[in-house]
Symmetry: C2
Subunit: 308 residues, 2 copies
Amino acid sequence: MLREWVAGMKVVLADGTLLAINGSLVKNQTGYDLRSLFIGSEGTLGIIVEVTLKLTTPPGEVVRLVAGLPGLGPLLETFRRMRDAFPFVNAFEYFSREALDEVLTHHQLQDPFREHYPTYILVELETSLCGGAAAIEEKLVPLIEEGLVSDLVMSRNGKEADALLSLRERISETLSARHTLHKNDISVPIPALSDFLGELVPLIETRYPGFKVILFGHVGDGNLHVNLLKPPGMEKDAFFSFCKGADHDVFALVQRYQGSISAEHGVGLLKRDYLHYSRTPAELALMRAIKGVFDPRGIMNPGKIFAD
Amino acid sequence: MLREWVAGMKVVLADGTLLAINGSLVKNQTGYDLRSLFIGSEGTLGIIVEVTLKLTTPPGEVVRLVAGLPGLGPLLETFRRMRDAFPFVNAFEYFSREALDEVLTHHQLQDPFREHYPTYILVELETSLCGGAAAIEEKLVPLIEEGLVSDLVMSRNGKEADALLSLRERISETLSARHTLHKNDISVPIPALSDFLGELVPLIETRYPGFKVILFGHVGDGNLHVNLLKPPGMEKDAFFSFCKGADHDVFALVQRYQGSISAEHGVGLLKRDYLHYSRTPAELALMRAIKGVFDPRGIMNPGKIFAD
């Protein structure tokens, strides 16, 4: 979470005060953490004018692998096994067959596998931290033998590693280039991810009959990007208005799994009327009261997060 | 920072409301981060009754090394060099000769070196992540050749690793067992650590003439534990009252370095009257107003952090 990389910040408040919070300290336990309150407040508490970020060491040489899985069932078990086998898993990304199809078609790329699989993962590992490429390969064999993974390709050099990454990385831009779409960015507790997907897909098929669903996400964050493509021939306005309504069912499911209706992209105006699916009335009341402390006249990014 | 390991929590508010915040989500960007507000609030905003922690993989086999340095000057450069040389440095701890003396005497242990040095470090590295013990040793040689490090011992097995750790780990308990003391737990930006120490020690010698100073700390966090031992023959009350006054000078120096007067241990009652050295009047006013939102009648741990 980006939150963890922010050491300090400067913020201009509604009354013009310039607040310098935490400087570049790693440890500071002197009262309330105002810094975390401003992160993700979307300009409603003050305007962040400077941020001090912690730096990290860039990863060394990496290997990436793409694997085809026989379904959603083995997704979490494969994730657990990888986390047990390797000291660090830089990335563990999920994408559906439909997502891969879009990228392969749009960029005229070759499928890394002969067969089609319903579920794909992209995994990145730092070679030297994981004992070298041969040791990595050896630890992957049981996953195939046990049927968790149907097929697997692993990069042998930087060029291949980049090519494998692009299969996952290009999904979002490809969808935007080729389709009118409705995106959702949701999260659930990691152990609930497969069960949640098992309910989400039938729900979408019921609520959006005939719509194409493209799924991808960050398994290690419990974060899913759910994309609905506008069927050919449907009016844009009708499509978006339909999706806006059907979102209530999707978010009710998210709520039942104690998930978030916005994992990464905030609330703004688009998610404002759905906020109650992720935050309780008590939390919303506290957030409004905190907003009142910082911005009594309601001049800081009005209307965002909360309705006026 | 512990803050990063808290996924979610349950809190009872002043009006009896039970608030469940964030469950076990990794990513959730739906409004203000109330969770971070409660962490470190010392019971003044609500009573935390349940916490969901993120788990991490325990470290594998480690080597630990203790090194004697010719002074405070090379401390930061040695830290930088270690961070550059190794992908992860689990711990980089500093302690003074006086601190080591206390532990050696109290526990009747042998000095790991023949000579005395003014400055010591304890470093922990995970063997397999750093390419094995031989590779680690090889990377340490230049530090000795360049004179950053005067002498160095590295553990060859778990027993030796534990013995080296205990030289640092036992400092705090040893001091409490042997002395009446006044402790400070402060932090400064990491790059300022050596300069800060270079001013702190003469300041202490001036402000606390004849007092014994014991220094240790976590260099990677910019965090120093400053311990003043009561001189033999001085009354306890006189000692503590003297320290309380002299703290103003120490904290004024901390403030000049944009540091924190309490890195780890909070404010409570002891640091309450010094809070203004680390938080500006504007921050203090906001904190009080936030307190008012959660606890309008002032019944949650009254008197802590803020004076009534």
